[in-house]
Structure formats: structure tokens, C-alpha cells
Amino acid sequence: MTDPLSKSGLSRRSLLTTAVAGSAALTVPARANDPAITELQPWMQSLGDGVDARPYGTPSPYEADAVRRDVPWLTADPISSVNFTPLHKLEGIITPNGLCFERHHGGVAEVDPAKHRLMINGLVDKPLVFTMEDLKRFPRENHVYFLECAANSGMEWRGAQLNGCQFTHGMVHCVVYTGVKLKHILEEAGVKTNAKWIMPEGADASAMTRSIPIEKALDDCMVAFAMNGEALRPEQGYPLRIVVPGWEGNMWVKWLRRIEVGDEPWHHREETSKYTDLLASGKARRFTWEMDVKSVITSPSPQAPITHGKGRTVLSGLAWSGRGTIDRVDVSLDGGSNWTTARVDGPSHTKALHRFYHEFDWDGEPLLLQSRAIDSEGWVQPTKNALRDVRGTESIYHNNSIQTWYVQKDGEVENVEVG
């Protein structure tokens, strides 16, 4: 987590002031010559590393702060804990493998693929065991999907808490998965007619389980062994995980070793004690699987302040829905009074992140930035208060409300709530 910039003694704030001063200089016609041009830089003169210096490439040291971060006070222990994707540092819709947030319940299992098996049992004609090699003999497919933890933004139910979209929204990532349709594997075992549910189970020390309705299992669920073109990362379930598009991240069981087919849900710990949504009435909703339409502005945001001063500004953000594609994203610069439709750019895959932009001239006055996404099923992202009106503040999960960022005159950005 070393930041070469701060090592050199420059704080972000001092960089900021220089940057603002620099932009002021732009409007002055006669300016000093730029030493980045007039002086010979070390990389222009001496040779760099040869091809084998980084057999597995790593980012430039100047990008050293584009890392996952955790919030230590959230959990008792880093083994059953979570860290967050640095959304403010990312572009496009694909999350690099090393930056996909992590959530484990028993640490990262280091599984030997040669000793990994997938068992299908329960209400099937013939219980089967597959090796990794067997699984790769099924027809493969590639799909881009987001994975969002149901508790993403969970710390914000009661009010603005954490300063940075990495912490407020960073329990989401989006990669291209390579794997096999679960349907093919289940068909190989022969699903009995009274089968209504499946239960994936992990091989790690938490032996994670969730109940999934058979319709979903036979629709778009996958068993994936690769992400973004390479084998799954250990922290994402190497060598095998189940992909449950658009649904709570917790259901995407990692280190997948078994799928049981049954006629009733199991009501295990992660669908009773956890991942149920307590309402103000004291009743709790269960089996709330879909991740609703949501968006967040990733820049400007608290960790990505405006450093160039007033003038042309690019607002950039992410939108997604577990129910389909994103049809539209509106943005507001005044806390939700007036909205303009942003530009959604790049590929639009179902149940995947979408990138949006809005270019505007900043007059240097404070802004209250918001984004509001609408998905292909017509679901509209609600305000925080609209959501609290129906759910109270103790749901923990499924907070898909509109985020407000307060941009101050100096370009610094803060997480706020507005009324």
C-alpha cells in the first residue's frame, strides 16, 4: 500500500493546490516552459527492464494506491471479513482480477485443483463426481456479470458514514466468466421431477451453503473456472465457483465442491441469521435474491476530488441491475432538484456493470452530485428516504439508494445526505 507520491512528502492536499494553481496558469498566455518537456527525464535516457523482469505483469508503481482496502472496525477478525474494490480508480466496466473485493467466512482456501471435486447429489437419477478436467469437457460459455455483495452500502442505512465510493459501494465487481452452464451438469446427473431447489456448498473452512430455486439454476447459473481470461483467483474461489447472475454475491459459492438437489430450501445460517432483511415492523424478508438497480458516481468522489479547478469536468460512474441491462442514468448537480440524462458508454451486457459519463463546465461553486439509474425492467433507483420509508434502517442488505457527493469549492468531495 505504498504511495510513491506521499513518500516523496507531497500530501494529496498540497498536490491539489499545485494543480489548481497550475490550471489558473493555463489562462495566462505567457507561461514558463514545462520542464517535463525541456528537461531530459531518466526514462528517456537509460534503458528499462528486459522482458522477464515481471513474468506476471504488475501495475506501474505510480498506481500503487489502486488497491483493495478494508474497514478494520467492521468485523472482529480479518479472516471472516471484507475488503472493497477501488471503484474510484477504475475505468470501463471490467474489474481487474486483483482488485475484485473479497469477502470470506473462513479465509482464502488454497485448493489443489488436482484434488478438487464437484459432487452432484440429492434428487438426481445418478449422483456424480466431476474432476476439473471433466468439467472442462462440457461446452464452455463466456459471460460478463457483476457480483455485488447484498451488504454493499449496508453501512449507509442510518446515514452517511464512509467517505469514499470504495467503501460505500466497493462490494461490487464485474468480470467475464468462463465456465459451463449449470444446467448441462445437472442434466448429466438427471434432475428428478420433484426437484425444486439446489444447494451449492464450498470446500473452505466455512463450508458456505445457500438455497437456490431450481428455475434459476437451470436458467443462467454457471459453474465458472476462469475470470477475465485466467484461472479464478484463490480469493474468488479457485478452482471453481458458482455464478448466480444478478443475485446476492453470497450465493456465488466459492471453492464449489458440491451441489445438492432437493425439494425444500435448507434455511441455513446465511439465509436466516444473515441475508434476511429486518424491517421496521420487526418482520424480516427472506429469499430476497435479486440485486436491484443501482448507480454511483465514481469521479468526482471523496477519493477522487476535482484537482483541475473550474472548467471542463468529466463526471463518470457505474450503474447496474440484477434484473437486466441499464436503460438510462440521470445525473443531478444540485442534490436531486434537476436532472439530465447521462451518456452510457461501452458494452451493455445483462446483469453487468455499465459505465456512464456526463461532461459539464464547472463554475467552481459547490455541487451536490447524484445519479439515478433505470433498468430494462423499468425499476428506478430510489432516494435514501424513499427506501427508508418502506424498509426502515435495519435491513443491512439491499441498499440501492441514490448517493450524494458534496463537491466543495476547492474540489474536495464528501459523502453527505440531503433533505
Binding site: 474497514v71 415492523s281 424480516a284 436531486g336 451536490l368
Partner: protein, 372 residues
Amino acid sequence: MLKSVDLSLLPLPAAPLLPLPPGEGRGEGIATRTTLTRPSSKARGLFTALATLLLTTPALANDLGRPATPAEIAAWDIDIRPDGQGLPEGGGTPADGEPIYNDRCASCHGVFGEGEGRWPVLTGGDGTLQDDRPVKTIGSYWPYASTVWDYIHRAMPFGDAQSLSDDEVYALTAYVLYMNDIIDDEDFELTRETFGEIEMPNEGGFIADERPDTMTLAKGEPCMSDCTDGPVKITMRAAVLDVTPQTEATTDEGETVMVAAAAPAFDAGLAEKGKKVFKKCGACHQVGEKAKNRTGPLLNGVIGKEAGAVEKFRYSKAMKKAAAEGLIWNAETLGWYLEAPRTYMKGTKMSFKGLSDEDDRAAVIEYLKQFE
């Protein structure tokens, strides 16, 4: 690796020819698309012929995987359902469970299930579900007792999963339910047969998904202009709470311990690194003034001391034997143990895969030196 490979010797990959099996309704997989569009026009004739042939032939051979044996299924099929499906033979009472709980669970969950520090609370919270700060526990929230059995058996104690016998899990489940006033009689034997008698207070507290409960286009277009009563005001700022972690690794004042008082050979910088490495140990071991035995023994003063010497901790036979043979923990011996616990000490109950990085081992040992 690649250096030694003569590229001319690499076999050319065979063109993928198999389309998806028929009946692949929603298959918008790239596999289909690439295989069907890529071949040159010459190859296409043959390819289409092959594809038609395959499409008219029944599905590909149904020969992947192999049958699971009954013993394999028994080894992995450990799940329990509310109707009791999956519960094994055996049984246990709250009275049987108490000593096991105190020994293997209380260090994290508290003697009364109240939760030590921020470890999960297992008891209490009755009637708080509508409160401002509801306390969701087995007693106040969980709908089914089967979940308690299933979870303890599959995941607890944390760091030593699936080490409990079925009787122990029955006894612990009974004891946890007893602490929650769900079982009143400490001699009530929980078995597969008596499981159905347990009534969980909040079983009726769950309802189905009621969404959409917020706005959809079916209810109208969202407002685009003058949507608020005049200009909006800031009502709350995250900066006031100031709970966001700093980007820079900060030293957490409460824990910077006795660096000055340490022996001259002590390397504070290395110890600081060791503090991070110790996060891997923290699930099982505590250090410092309030340290207690958890899954592993407390580690105050462990450097320079005989192995297996912490009072009240139940060591494995292997550790007791090593202690009897005079094992002393120093940088060298502990380094070996931490590198590969079960290779160095066959039979140790430290279920930790080891620290393969020598620097990490040195750092964590340096860190441990500060605790008397």
C-alpha cells in the same frame, strides 16, 4: 519457462468444431458465435455439413463424470434441514454441552453467549427486533433449530471446523438453546427424535420478498426538473463521524506497545511488520494485557519459554510430548514450527497452513517478543 520451448515444436491447435448441443435455448454463448462464424468460406461447407449432422444427432455422449459412491456422499452430505432431514444418530443434553462450550466456544462467544469483544453474540436480544438497535441472535431471530446444528457442525469452532463429533454437536446445540431459554431442562436430550419438540420463538417472523416496494416506471416517470421544494440542504456529513480508514497505514495508538522498553536486539520496524502478519494468527491467538486462551493458547512471553506451558490450555499430545522433550520456543524452533506446523510437529492441533515466507516468520516472531 517459455525460454526453453522451441516454438516450431508446438502443435497447432485444432479448430474447435463442436457447436453447443441442441436444445440450448438461451445459449448466447460466445462459443456458438465464434465457432459458427470463424471458418474460411472453404471450410464453411464442411463445417455446416458437420454442424447439421451434429444438430440432427442426439446430444453429445452422456459420459462426463463418474458415479459418486455411497461413502463419498456420506462424507460430504452434511446438511441438515428444518424437517430434520440429515440429522445423524446420537444425542446430547445442555449439561453435556456446557463443558464443551466453555472449552471450545466461550473464548470467542463469551461464557454466556454474550460475545467477547466483537465476536458474534449467541444469546439475548429477546423482543428487540423493532428497536432502534435490534439484537439478532439464535434466541431472538433464528427461525429453525436445525440451522444451529448445521452451522456449528460445518463451521465451528472457527479455525477448527468439522472437528466436533455428532454427540458433541447435539450437546452444544442443546446448550446454546438452553442459554437462550428455548430448552428449560438441562437434562433434556436432543436427538433426531426430540428435535421436532423445539420451538423457535421467531419462526413466524419471516415474510416473502415484497419488492417492488419502491419506484418503477409502471408507477410513472421519475421527475426531471424542480423536483424538490426549493434548494436542497445538507442534513448529514460522513466527515463528522470520521470513521473512514486512512489510506496510509496508520499506527493504532491503543496497540503500540512497549517498543522503548524492549531489549536492544529488538527491531521495532520488523515488529511493526509482524503486527500485520499476526492478523493471520489473531483468529486463534491473543497477545497483550487482556489476552486469553482461544482456539490457540495466549502467546504472551512465548519467545524463550518452554513449549506447551500456558496454563489451562489443552494442548495436543504432540505438543505435550515435544514439551516433555524440552522444546523451547526461540527464533529458530518457532520459525520451523510456523513454516509448516504439521510437518514440524506431526499431530499438532494448530490447524494453520503455515507461513511460507521467511520474512513473515521473522517479523511475527519479532512482534511476539514485545509481549511479556
